[in-house]
Each structure stands twice: as structure tokens, then as C-alpha cells.
């Protein structure tokens, strides 16, 4: 080795970090590690940070539904389980599900409002019609990477199928099993192809995008009740406006807040902090004569798809 190289290392500096004193290095690393440590807490912290105000809807500025004096409606649904027997007495698939499928041309096997049969703590079952819970702290809106699913000023959660990229993180995030994906080409009747698509009226359906119950905002805005509310033979579903504190099932009108409070209303999976807009009044169909120990209901059907040639359903 040339004599000058045998001397101090500075004369031929190693090209990698030997020039940084080890102690300073370890100190830097330590600080770096400290800054990384709080990251384990971030999931909890960040999940609570939802969008503080309703997101601007993706389909352009839209006038929200308002009361006479310009206050924005806050749509809500109240489902009186004392009157729901899963349409056992009707003898067919649940009418709310059937009407929604028909009205929205929901592809098979989507049940935007699905009647679950819940086991009660003290034996027996009850039927729980479950539409999208229209959460006020919606996990689906929080995680969507492109803002395809968004909260409206009325408090509903809608999906813009023109923006959805089909990543399905919203489906992983929804704790109520209320989102459905168009895995294949959804059946579209010829009339629907000409329909004016809007996030409030998800027709025609698009392959590779997510769909769900939208609370029928276009109908509510026009003063009509949603399909499920109209179809229920026992008038178990109430649709209302929390801003005007009013709700109706098509037959009677109630003051929503009093109706909820006096009947010990609850919400599904309250502990998750999603703040749903769908309330339930506890019961098991006793008001319409159902015995709590009669299980089972007819499965949903999609008769409208028969008019479309080559409609290929997929499994749930």
C-alpha cells in the first residue's frame, strides 16, 4: 500500500457513513425511533377524525332538500320492530326488500335493505330490516381514496359510480354489511340505459363499482316516501326528518324525538361510534301477531331480472 494510505483514514475517506461519529448516529436513530413510536396509537386517533362537515357532493353542486324556511332536511328512518314479522304472515319475500329491488333495479343478489333474523338474548328471534345505516361518522366515507362515496348535507351517504375505482376498501370498512359490488356486468333493462344517472338514482348500474341503499333522496325531496316504507304491509318503517322532528310510516305522523324516546329506541352496533341515522324500536313482531319462537322467512327474489336477456347473477 502506498505510504500515504497507511496513514489516517481521513486521507482516503470511506464512501459510506464511517465519517459520521457513531455516537451521534445512535442519537439520531434514537430520536428517529421515538418519532415512530406514537405511530402505534395513530390508528385509534385517526379513525376518530372524520370529515368535520359534509363533503361537497361529487356530482356537482346540488340543492339539498330543505324545509319551507330553508333549513336542510336531515333524513332519518325509524323501524318499529314490534310490527315487523319478516313478512311471515304475508307468505313471501320481505316486501320492503322486494320493493327496493324492483324500484332500483338492484342486480341479483343485492339486498339494499336486508331483513336479518337476530337471535334474542332470551331465546327466540326477531326480524331486523337493515338498510344502509347512513352513519354520521361513516367508516366508508372516511376510507374512500377518491371520494366516490360521500356524505350529503342531509346526512345521507351516497356513492358516485362515475368516480368509484372499485378498490372495495369501503366494503371492508362498513360494519353493517350494507355495501354491494358489481362483480360482473349487472343486468340493465333497455329503458334504464337511457336513464339520467345521478348519485341519488343509481341507474344504470356500472360493472366494477359499489352500490347500496341511498335512502331514496330523490323521492324524499319530492315528498314521496321510499319504496321500502311504502311497501311494508304492517307500516313498520317510518321515514322522517330530524330537522323538523317528524316522521311517518305512510299512515300516521309522529314527532320523531318523542316517538324514539318513549319507545326506548336503539341503533345497531352503537358502540362502534358510527352514529347511524336508522333507529329501531325494540320488538319481535308482537304487534302483528308474530310468536317470538317462529323462525325463518322467505328468501329475497329478483323477478325483474328475468326481463333482461343473459342476466348473470353472482353469489353473495
Amino acid at each position: 500500500m502506498p505510504p500515504e494510505q497507511a496513514a489516517t483514514p481521513e486521507s482516503s475517506p470511506k464512501p459510506w457513513g464511517a465519517t459520521i461519529p457513531r455516537r451521534r448516529l445512535l442519537r439520531m436513530l434514537g430520536l428517529g425511533a421515538l418519532s415512530v413510536a406514537p405511530m402505534s396509537v395513530l390508528p385509534e386517533l385517526l379513525r376518530t377524525v372524520g370529515p368535520g362537515r359534509p363533503v361537497e357532493p361529487v356530482d356537482g353542486p346540488r340543492k339539498p332538500a330543505t324545509t319551507r324556511d330553508g333549513r336542510i332536511r336531515q333524513w332519518t328512518m325509524i323501524i318499529d320492530l314490534r310490527s315487523c314479522d319478516g313478512c311471515q304472515s304475508v307468505g313471501g319475500p320481505p316486501r320492503c326488500t322486494a320493493a327496493c329491488i324492483e324500484g332500483h333495479l338492484a342486480p341479483e343478489p343485492m339486498e339494499w335493505i336486508e331483513v336479518y333474523e337476530q337471535e334474542l338474548a332470551g331465546d327466540g328471534t326477531r326480524f331486523v330490516p337493515t338498510p344502509c345505516q347512513q352513519c354520521q361518522n361513516p367508516p366508508c366515507v372516511n376510507v374512500c381514496p377518491v371520494g366516490a362515496t360521500f356524505s350529503t348535507p342531509e346526512g345521507t351517504v351516497l356513492i358516485d359510480q362515475d368516480r368509484c375505482i372499485g378498490c372495495r376498501i369501503c366494503m371492508a370498512a362498513c360494519p353493517y354489511d350494507r355495501r354491494f359490488f358489481n362483480w360482473g356486468e349487472p343486468p340493465i333493462p333497455p329503458a334504464a340505459l337511457l336513464a339520467d344517472y345521478s348519485a341519488e338514482h343509481q341507474v344504470p348500474a356500472r360493472k366494477g363499482t359499489v352500490m347500496k341503499c341511498d335512502f331514496c333522496p330523490d323521492m324524499a325531496r319530492a315528498g314521496t316516501l321510499p319504496y321500502c316504507v311504502q311497501a311494508c304491509p304492517n307500516d313498520a318503517i317510518y321515514y322522517g326528518d330530524l330537522e323538523e322532528d317528524i316522521a311517518t310510516n305512510g299512515r300516521v305522523v309522529v314527532a320523531a324525538s318523542r316517538f324514539l324516546a318513549e319507545n326506548d329506541a336503539f341503533r345497531q352496533r352503537e358502540e362502534l361510534g358510527t352514529k347511524p341515522r336508522v333507529y329501531y324500536i325494540p320488538g319481535h313482531g308482537e304487534a302483528v301477531g308474530r310468536d317470538v319462537f317462529t323462525p325463518g322467512r322467505a328468501p329475497a327474489e329478483w323477478p325483474w331480472t328475468e326481463i333482461v336477456d343473459g342476466a348473470q347473477p353472482w353469489q353473495r
Binding site: 377524525v49 372524520g50 324556511d69 314527532a255
Partner: protein
């Protein structure tokens, strides 16, 4: 004697009839003698709590206390009309029951107050109206918790910092490229 008996019987019958009539009319007559006065606010706005007062007195002016009054408001929504219970109030010692109600719609409100007076068998009601002006939005939903500082801006700052450092590294590469012309050590092939 026949005339006397006939007169007595006639008088007795009249008395009985009058008595029966009196008794017949007595019950409702007693109730219909409850003096009802309602006091509706002259001006109210959405979101403002207004008292809907009703005053019950017996015919002889004594206040009717301890009577439960149920308030029904006429509402209409999505083409369905009806009366919905909005609250209950009990008359106090002065015979006044006042429900503190927060109106949520604008326009003319028709409220029906029903009560069962003590001793009465049928529920009576009285209807009153009041007007409500518009107000501000009452229900606002805020999703989640807002922690100052933890927001996307922080993420952008951190990310910007990292990419700045990468940029500085690229400047070093430019320096290497530029130093390529300088001071080349003597060409010496073979074993290095």
C-alpha cells in the same frame, strides 16, 4: 179528590222529569262548566322554546289542579297528515299547565289540548293555534373528533420534507457528475 190526585201525580211526574233532566244534564253540565283558557305565544321561532299554556278552572272559579293535559300538534309530512303527541303537562295549584315546546316547523300550528277533568267520563279538548317564524339549522352532524394539528396538512409537511431530502441527494449526484472532469488520478491499469 180525583182532581187533587191527578194534580199531584202531574206535579210528581213533572218533578221527576225535571229531576231526570237535571241529572241528565248535570254531568256534562258540570264538565262543560270547566273554564278553559289557553294562552298561546304571540310570536315564536323555530328552535325557540315557547310555553303553550292552558288554564283550567271549575265553574265556581276554583283552579283545577293535578289534571294531565295531553298536547297534540297537527303535522303533515310526505302527504300524510295527522295529530302527533308532542307532550304532556299537569295543571299546578293555580290550574295552569304549560308545556314548554320547541317548534320545528314554520307557519300556523294547530295544537289540540286534551284533558280529563276530575269526575268527568269523557275526554275534552280545546284547539288553539299559534304562528311560528323561521329559524336556523338545528341538527348538524359532525363526524368524529377534530383534533387540532392532526390533519392532512401534517401529512403533507412530513411528505414534503422526505422528498426534499431526496432532492438534495439528487443534487449530490449532479455534483458527482460534474466532478467527473476534475483531477483524475493517474491512469494505472493492471492490478488495483
Amino acid at each position: 179528590m180525583n182532581a187533587t190526585i191527578r194534580q199531584t201525580v202531574r206535579a210528581a211526574l213533572v218533578l221527576v222529569a225535571v229531576g231526570a233532566l237535571t241529572v241528565a244534564l248535570a254531568a256534562p253540565a258540570v264538565a262543560s262548566h270547566v273554564t278553559v283558557r289557553t294562552s298561546m305565544p304571540s310570536a315564536g321561532a323555530v328552535g325557540e322554546i315557547i310555553p303553550l299554556a292552558i288554564d283550567l278552572h271549575t265553574p265556581d272559579g276554583a283552579p283545577l289542579s293535578g289534571t294531565t293535559v295531553t298536547y297534540y300538534l297537527h303535522m303533515s309530512f310526505a302527504g300524510v297528515e295527522g295529530h302527533a303527541v308532542i307532550g304532556r303537562a299537569v295543571t299546578d295549584d293555580a290550574g295552569v299547565a304549560a308545556l314548554r315546546y320547541e317548534p320545528r316547523t314554520t307557519g300556523l300550528h294547530q295544537v289540540r289540548m286534551e284533558y280529563l277533568a276530575p269526575g268527568a267520563t269523557t275526554i275534552e279538548s280545546v284547539v288553539a293555534t299559534f304562528d311560528v317564524a323561521g329559524g336556523t339549522q338545528l341538527v348538524r352532524s359532525a363526524g368524529g373528533v377534530d383534533i387540532p394539528g392532526i390533519n392532512p396538512g401534517l401529512l403533507m409537511v412530513v411528505l414534503g420534507g422526505v422528498w426534499l431530502i431526496l432532492l438534495r441527494v439528487s443534487f449530490r449526484l449532479v455534483a458527482i457528475a460534474r466532478a467527473g472532469g476534475a483531477d483524475v488520478p493517474p491512469e494505472g491499469d493492471g492490478p488495483r
